[in-house]
Symmetry: C2
Subunit: 244 residues, 2 copies
């Protein structure tokens, strides 16, 4: 499984992805699920992937190989909407190539993507591509998307994120959401890949890899856990009728 979060805010975009893949509990590996395309000063396009690794890797490879070709590619599409369409078309191409019914033996080839970024001349944006290839855009009302193992880490995002949150607050909230997920589900694991984009900067940051022993991540995990314990202990006990 996988867990990725992409967040769209007035101030910019925040992306966090885990890096664990598994095909059964005895076939676990680390693969990057956050991929950055872009031309500094002109565009940045960030992709996060969940689902079948063979499909998503092929999609990323084809998108990269075609950057230097003459056709439409992520370095020349005129909008983020069209970049998302291109990712979707590439996914359908790979699934059509690999999805031979006789050979697939019931294996699900599908995957999902989060596509976020900014192309010069338009606002930053964030899209979620479904396994069927259609997609939706984040809005002020729904400023984040999750793909993969999304349920464990959803409550903390629902409680504390909105479109006007700062990049720092959104990053922190996303990291806590990952901690909750990793504690409860073995199929999501460290290290995490993080990328923060400042709206309208048109910079292409490298992003940062958060390892298991990263002191900042360790610190906030511990402080968060202790604060939750303390809060639970401070809440008033239930009145008598609850115990009747």
């Amino acid at each position: 499984m996988t867990y990725c979060v992409g967040i769209s805010l007035e101030q910019g975009l925040v992306f966090v992805s885990d890096s664990r893949t598994n095909a059964g509990v005895d076939h676990i590996a680390t693969f990057r699920k956050l991929h950055v395309f872009g031309v500094p000063g002109e565009r940045i396009i960030v992709l996060q992937t969940a689902g079948n690794l063979a499909t998503s890797q092929s999609v990323i490879s084809l998108l990269q190989q075609r950057l230097n070709g003459e056709g439409v590619n992520l370095n020349n599409v005129p909008s983020l909407y069209q970049a998302t369409t291109l990712v979707s078309e590439t996914m359908r191409e790979v699934m059509a190539r690999d999805g031979n019914g006789v050979m697939m033996q019931g294996v699900d080839l599908s995957c999902s993507f989060i596509v976020g970024g900014q192309v010069n001349g338009e606002a930053a944006g964030l899209f979620n591509i479904y396994p069927q290839g259609n997609f939706i855009a984040a809005t002020e009302d729904t400023p984040y998307f999750q793909i993969g193992e999304s349920k464990y880490g959803k409550p903390v995002l629902d409680r504390s994120l909105d479109n006007s949150s700062s990049l720092q607050h959104a990053l922190l909230t996303a990291l806590i959401s990952f901690d909750s997920t990793i504690r409860s589900n073995l199929s999501v694991g460290m290290p995490l890949d993080v990328l923060v984009y400042n709206a309208n900067s048109l910079q292409v940051p490298n992003g940062f890899r958060v390892t298991q022993d990263d002191p900042y991540y360790q610190g906030i995990r511990q402080q968060w856990g202790e604060a939750l314990q303390r809060t639970l202990l401070e809440l008033p006990p239930a009145p008598g009728q609850y115990l009747g």
Copy 2:
């Protein structure tokens, strides 16, 4: 969907169930999913149900109807293990009766149960019956079971429950787990049914129904939400390399 939690502690047992059922978003209703059997001073057996409502209701009805018969029933089985076996057998009986392949049109008839309680002469216990009818018992290492929509509310249980927790602390933690779930998933809804059993009391409490406007539940929801917000704001911001 449904969400039920049963917790087994040194001090006793805690049960919390939601009451929303849905067959599609336009067919939502309220049904009790926490059912109490017992003979004061001699035994208490609590059942929580998730899954197909027609199946689980029939199982409860048959178990109730048979209490006054001559055969094996929940008022005369000699152990909680055998009570769990009886619930499982009754579930298989209902599924065999109703599960006509031609008629079912792909509808899933299965359900799951949490069975907890105490029969005089043995310790209190807690079992989880899978949709296949086999079951497992809670232990010191794994003191709680969830059935239904379990992922949203699992992190807070994992963080703060163990076998030596007090009944009050476990009840509070379970209520917070329900709040997180209800905020993130429309298929789980108020009111909640709560039952707390003191180990070795052999009392048969009626339990308590927590409504949407219950002042205690409202208060802890609000305090918990505010404490999480405050904690997130107090955590240190990510260092520069996270933002690179």
